[in-house]
């Protein structure tokens, strides 16, 4: 099973090679970047086969003991079970397809300017960090991966750092997720203090013995972990960074901000499910956060003009579904939706990328239109991806995963959350097909050049196939790792709920067709002025959370900061750098360069030292 390590080594070697030779030819950079992840994917497949053949038992590979000083032991150990192998499959499989697509995309996006090696170095490093995150058998290693993906996300959002707005978006993403990270770190300290270990399996094993159901400490620990997850997964209240993160190249959005990194929060909560089960109040909160976020993000998506922002908000909304599933105890359904979502969302992002390149870096959907004639492939891909996102019944993968979540919500007695999910499904249909209709139907506003070539077609087609019911047939070996959470209902009752959600999705599709397929006058008039316009603006700004945070946190902070610019609090705060600076100046003055002075300092030092030794 030492194969497992190879999944980390290949992308790592790629990242090292790419960063050591930043001036290498673009073709070499593309090949190394994609091939290293491809090899990792092949190894992952082999690992899956061997693991399955050996009965699929959880497996720990302790590579070595990293640090052992006194009572503090940290192992460099990888933990393989159904959950991590599922995540590995998503990361390396979807990751490889996205890398392949990026090999096509970046050529057009960079248009000959340097930076190909830098891009793939970051991307490969991201894969390493993400794998470390899901494979680490202790929380320290997980945290290392957690910070690693954050760093890569920051670097890639700000990839085109020459534009100040992109740099700001990168800052914003970094700072907001960092707020979550701080909570997570505190949570880890808390767990270590209580249990004296950071090994995840030991923790999960001991937690129910140490903490009673609903123990206050357990609640605090779960809450801290939840806040960390919220930051990474762009959930309320730390959701505002994701839409701005679209400043990065589109494959980045597909890989990091749709398929993998943003779902790390879901993985973390699922991995620590033992803690959440003894803190039911916090688990309830997870569901509520998911439910509210999926609605907010869905509404915001209906009023976006940038194609990537539409998809970004839909990502936020879909992760809301996963949180909802976690909250209602549908652990397996959440991970199932995570995988399916990775398929169709990266399909949507990559197709969007293809469209953007075809339209000469145009991202505004209202400046596109009628593209179905020129971009036939993209059109059908977008239809498939959009259908999966809207969970159109029977043929799409999204139907099976989302339906499982909704049914589990009802069956576990969370009627309100089910209602949230249902409304969300309705909104999802509307904004998805709004986007598709505006981009591909109506009058042609720009002349598009369809993309071609194997790196362009192959990933898109594979992902499209996986987004249909084919993807839903993939079996996830989660039994025994996560509680199933599924409740067997009466056949007819289940059918009724399935029909309800199918109908809702179809009605949404119909409504989108009615509003956006024709002349779109209704919407145009409604949002021209008055309350309609205000609502549109409100939705467009994602329900004004940026504005709210600005008013509630940033402005008061700046006000306080301005008010205290010259008072004693400021003085105290300034003492530290002031002391350092004064110490630097004072000590530098001693370094006069004069030998006699140096001898004098030594003489004085020796005299004082020896006198103190004698008389002290």
């Amino acid at each position: 099973m030492s194969l497992l390590v190879l999944t980390l080594i290949f992308p790592l070697a790629g990242a090292i090679a790419l960063s050591l030779f930043p001036r290498m030819a673009d073709n070499a950079a593309r090949t190394i970047g994609a091939a290293s992840v491809g090899l990792a994917a092949v190894v992952t497949a082999l690992v899956m086969v061997f693991w399955g053949a050996n009965g699929g038992y959880p497996f720990v590979q302790t590579l070595w003991q990293w640090i052992a000083v006194g009572d503090f032991h940290v192992n460099f150990g990888l933990y393989l079970d159904g959950l991590s192998i599922t995540m590995m499959g998503v990361i390396t499989g979807v990751g490889f397809l996205i890398h392949l697509f990026a090999a096509w995309y970046m050529v057009h996006d960079l248009e000959g300017s340097p930076g190909m090696a830098r891009f793939f170095a970051y991307m490969n490093l991201f894969i390493v960090a993400m794998l470390l995150l899901v494979l680490g058998d202790n929380l320290l290693l997980l945290y290392l991966g957690w910070e690693g993906v954050g760093l890569c996300s920051y670097l890639l959002i700000g990839y085109y750092y020459q534009t100040p707005a992109n740099a700001w978006a990168a800052f914003k993403a970094f700072i907001i997720t960092r707020i979550g990270d701080v909570f997570l770190a505190i949570g880890l300290f808390l767990l270590y203090t209580v249990f004296g270990t950071l090994n995840i399996q030991t923790l999960l094993h001991q937690a129910p013995q140490v903490w009673a159901q609903g123990d206050a400490m357990a609640n605090v620990a779960a809450l801290l972990i939840l806040l960390g997850a919220c930051g990474k997964s762009a959930q309320l209240p730390l959701q505002t960074w994701l839409a701005d993160a679209m400043a990065g190249p589109t494959p980045v959005s597909a890989l990091i901000h749709a398929a993998t990194m943003v779902t790390a929060g879901v993985y973390l909560i699922a991995r620590m499910h033992g803690i959440f089960e003894i803190a039911p109040a916090i688990q309830e909160l997870v569901g509520v956060i998911g439910g509210v976020t999926l609605l907010i993000a869905g509404l915001a998506a209906t009023a976006q003009t940038d194609i990537k922002r539409v998809i970004a908000y839909s990502t936020m909304s879909q992760i809301g579904y996963m949180f909802l599933a976690l909250g209602v105890g549908a652990w397996q359904a959440a991970i199932f939706h995570l995988m399916i979502h990775a398929f169709f969302k990266s399909l949507l992002f990559l197709t969007a990328g293809s469209v953007i390149i075809a339209c000469h870096h145009e991202q505004n959907i209202f400046k596109m239109g009628g593209l179905r004639k020129t971009l036939k492939l993209d059109y059908w891909l977008m239809i498939i991806g959009g259908s999966a996102l809207s969970a159109l019944p029977l043929v799409t993968a999204g139907f099976y995963s989302k339906d499982a979540i909704l049914w589990d919500a009802v069956a576990n007695g969370h009627g309100v959350l089910w209602l949230f999910g249902l409304i969300g499904a309705f909104i999802t249909s509307i904004y998805t097909f709004r986007m598709i209709f505006i981009v591909f139907h109506g009058e042609e506003k720009t002349h598009a050049h369809a993309g071609h070539g194997i790196p362009h077609h192959v990933p898109l087609i594979i992902l499209a196939v996986l987004s249909t019911f084919v993807g839903a047939m993939i079996h996830q070996p989660l039994d025994g790792v996560l509680p199933s959470g599924a409740v067997e209902g009466h056949f007819w009752i289940e059918l009724v709920f399935e029909v309800i959600s199918s109908v809702v999705a179809l009605v949404g599709l119909g409504m989108a067709a009615a509003l956006f397929l024709g002349k779109r006058q209704l919407i145009a008039q409604a949002t021209q002025d008055g309350p309609g316009r205000n609502t549109w603006l409100f939705f467009n700004s994602a329900l004004g959370f940026d504005w709210l945070y600005d008013k509630v946190f940033v402005q008061p902070f700046l006000f306080v900061a301005r008010g205290h610019r010259r008072d004693w609090i400021e003085t105290i705060v300034n003492v530290v750098p002031g002391l350092a600076s004064a110490g630097n100046s004072g000590l530098s003055a001693v370094q006069s360069g004069r030998l006699r002075w140096y001898a004098m300092v030594m003489f004085a030092g020796a005299a004082v030292l020896l006198a103190v030794l004698m008389f002290g």
């Binding site: 530098s588 370094q591 006069s592 360069g593 004069r594 030998l595 006699r596 001898a599 004098m600 003489f603």
Partner: protein
Amino acid sequence: MTGLPIQYGMGLAALLFIAGLTGLVVRRNTLFILMSLEIMLNAAGLAFIVAGAHWQAADGNAMFILIIALAGAEASIGLGLLLQLHKRFRTIDIDAASEMHG
């Protein structure tokens, strides 16, 4: 205890040592700095001879001989450097050689 108290011998060495140290710090002339170094080394040698005489063992003398070897080495290198300094800086004022600082 008969004979000369050891404090007198060591005291003389200490006085010579500190005189050398003071000279090292005070003098600006490179030549005097090297002389002061020789005074300090010589004082340390005296201290060893005194201590050796107290214990009536050859160790002190052996150390003294090693010190003389060092003194010779220091003097030859020091004077070589002094000549180069004189050539490059056109002075034997040690304060002139202070190009590096901060």
